[in-house]
């Protein structure tokens, strides 16, 4: 009993020693002995055994980072409307967020063992919500049906990591057959396709359909005739996009029509290509056009060629052709980027008649200023129907007009509803907005 009474003041003295030593001045500082500091240091439960007195070496030393509070458990949900390659991961952030800059989220397959199996899949800033969609990084994809484990680390400004518990995902990723967020896109697509097929059928049944004249398209025949009269070649540039681009497909269709006419007139055609797949398609189309024109022997295999897949190298090559071969007519139809002005300006210098067409809004102004005729946006898509005069294609153009009429009707309805809401203090426009709104992120 007596021993206990002696021990209490002794412990108190030992406890007070550190604070006394700090109060004495800047010469001495408390330094924890244990490097692996835990939350116990932060909550002031430091015992004398864990500290030692160390003299300062001339300058004031900062108190080292006592460690960070660790994050809690990780919750994983299957992401709906995906191909089974994404998971929604959320975690409980640290209760005491002081000193935490980011959270590093690691993942590995549940059966895997060893520290090197963990992959850093996401860094979440401490100020951001503690959740993310895992599977975006192609380096570490999510496999459908695979069970994963996650662990989250609090990270301080020095990059030190303090790990929370390892959590096994409650679910595995599962793909869906139907993306419910795309229902509106499906309905709109079906409606538009049905309208086009309706007019398509109507045209096939022999109904006469009117197409208003477009100057750029009417000038194509004239331009081919000019080249024939001058005995000079015709240059056809199908743009620098891939075959999946609508503008490229429209361009290739027009190339077929143009090549057929060129074959009939026995004029030389030059088609330099940027994309290897577009090149193969263009070659087939031109060959077919010569065949349809009844002049397969006139087809020159060197007329359609691949140049390069580097944007400005391609421009340099085409410019060289323009200045050396001096084509009488230049067609720039398809998708263009920064090279549009360089091409069209050089063509203008060479004295060629130029017809351009693209749906690239940023490049259209350059074509308008430098070319004789420009097909703006949808005029390019309609051009093949104009040139072919086929009832089916004219029907398709009519169908597209009907689609535009629907869009115009909806905008007009929105205008009327907006005014009605203003006058009658109702909220009818919101209904229409909800009807046409599609989610941004899928």
């Amino acid at each position: 009993m007596r021993k206990n009474w002696i021990g209490i003041p002794a412990i108190m003295i030992l406890l007070l020693l550190p604070s006394l030593s700090v109060a004495q001045g800047d010469d001495e500082i408390l330094t924890p002995v244990d490097d692996n500091l835990s939350a116990t240091v932060a909550d002031n439960s430091v015992t004398p055994d864990e500290t030692e007195l160390r003299p300062a070496a001339g300058e004031q030393l900062e108190e080292p980072d006592p460690g960070l509070d660790i994050p809690g458990i990780v919750t994983v949900q299957n992401k709906p409307n995906d191909a089974g390659d994404q998971l929604i991961v959320s975690f409980e952030p640290a209760v005491n967020s002081e000193g935490i800059v980011t959270y590093n989220i690691y993942r590995h397959i549940a059966e895997e063992e060893g520290e090197d199996t963990w992959n850093l899949v996401k860094i979440v800033l401490a100020i951001n919500p503690p959740e993310f969609i895992d599977g975006y990084d192609p380096e570490y994809p999510i496999e459908p049906g695979v069970l994963y484990e996650y662990r989250v680390a609090s990270v301080n400004a020095d990059g030190d990591e303090f790990f929370g518990p390892v959590c096994t995902a409650e679910v595995v990723s599962k793909g869906e057959w139907f993306h419910t967020d795309k229902t509106r896109v499906l309905i709109a697509g079906l409606l538009f396709i049905l309208l086009i097929f309706y007019y398509f059928g109507k045209a096939q049944r022999g109904t006469k359909m009117y197409l208003r004249p477009i100057a750029g398209i009417e000038a194509i025949d004239e331009a081919i005739g000019r080249a024939t009269e001058m005995g000079k070649p015709i240059l056809y540039v199908p743009g620098i996009s891939t075959i999946s681009d609508v503008a490229t497909i429209a361009s290739i269709t027009i190339l077929g029509r143009v090549a057929k006419k060129i074959a009939e007139y026995q004029t030389r055609l030059i088609v330099p290509n940027y994309d290897p797949i577009v090149y193969t398609v263009a070659e087939e189309v031109v060959k077919q056009a010569y065949l349809e024109a009844g002049r397969p022997d006139s087809y020159d295999p060197d007329s359609v060629f691949f140049m390069t897949q580097s944007q400005f190298a391609y421009v340099a090559g085409v410019n060289g052709i323009m200045m050396r071969d001096k084509p009488a007519t230049n067609f720039y139809l398809g998708m263009f980027y920064a090279e549009s002005l360089i091409l069209a300006e050089t063509g203008s210098l060479s004295g060629a008649i130029q017809i351009a067409g693209t749906d690239a809004v940023t490049q259209l102004p350059f074509f308008i200023t430098t070319c004789d005729y420009t097909l703006i946006g949808e005029e390019l898509y309609a051009a093949s129907a104009y040139l072919g005069h086929e009832p089916k294609q004219i029907g398709a153009v009519k169908g597209q007009d009907a689609c535009k009429a629907i869009i115009m009707s909806l905008i007009t309805l929105a205008l009327v509803l907006g005014i009605l809401d203003l006058v009658a203090n109702t909220h009818t426009l919101n209904w229409l907005r909800d009807l046409v709104t599609v989610s941004i992120v899928e």
Binding site: V281, A313, T346, V438
Partner: protein
């Protein structure tokens, strides 16, 4: 040493390409043929290292992803173009690329160029607290969109009050939009030119810092 050679080569080829502004000449022709050839060689190496090796050869031989042999063989069919008797086989990969391209592109185009644009146009002209310039902007946007759409009607003659006047307003709106785009893009191009002049004057000739 190598940096200096690189700067000299870059500068001389820049001047060679700019010589086209005077007229087509042998120096330009040399630069043109070199840039076309080198770019092609570079792209072949780039595609081998970024596509063929990591996405085809390594997964097949390193990861036993044997299914990748199918697209690999489909791609090889392009080479049949060099053998006239079986050149028709190259149409299969072309058809595949076009089909998938259209299939993927259709819903994306429908969403980005139709529904999202429509959504942006379905707005009230005025709501309480809206500043006057925003109201004016809304009016211009809604009526401008309608007029531009009228211009792109192909199956109706552009005559009369609705189609005639509407399409005239439409083409004005389109041209005003193009004017703004033109100015914006020219500014970007000028900055590219400035960058090149800085390279010539600074890195090469050291006239400017």
């Amino acid at each position: 040493m190598y940096d200096t050679i690189g700067i000299w080569v870059g500068a001389l080829f820049t001047l060679a390409i700019y010589s086209f502004l005077y007229k087509e000449n042998p120096v330009y022709r040399l630069a043109e043929h070199l840039v076309v050839g080198i770019s092609m060689g570079y792209i072949i190496v780039l595609i081998y290292n970024t596509v063929i090796l990591p996405k085809l050869l390594e997964p097949i031989f390193g990861g036993n992803h044997w299914l990748l042999i199918i697209p690999g063989l489909l791609g090889l069919l392009y080479i049949t173009r060099f053998i006239p008797s079986i050149a028709w086989l190259s149409r299969y990969p072309i058809a595949f690329v076009m089909g998938t391209g259209m299939g993927i592109g259709f819903p994306l185009t429908m969403k980005a160029y139709v529904l999202r644009q429509l959504e942006a146009a379905v707005i009230p002209l005025y709501s309480s607290g809206m500043p006057w310039h925003e109201v004016l902007g809304n009016i211009v946007m809604i009526f401008g969109t309608l007029a531009a759409l009228i211009y792109f009607f192909f199956s109706k003659p552009h005559k009369g009050l609705f189609f005639g006047t509407g399409s005239k307003i439409g083409i004005w709106v389109i041209m005003l939009g193009f004017g703004a785009t033109f100015g914006f893009t020219v500014m970007g191009r000028i900055s590219l030119l400035i960058g090149r002049i800085q390279y010539l004057m600074g890195d090469w000739l050291h006239i400017i810092e």
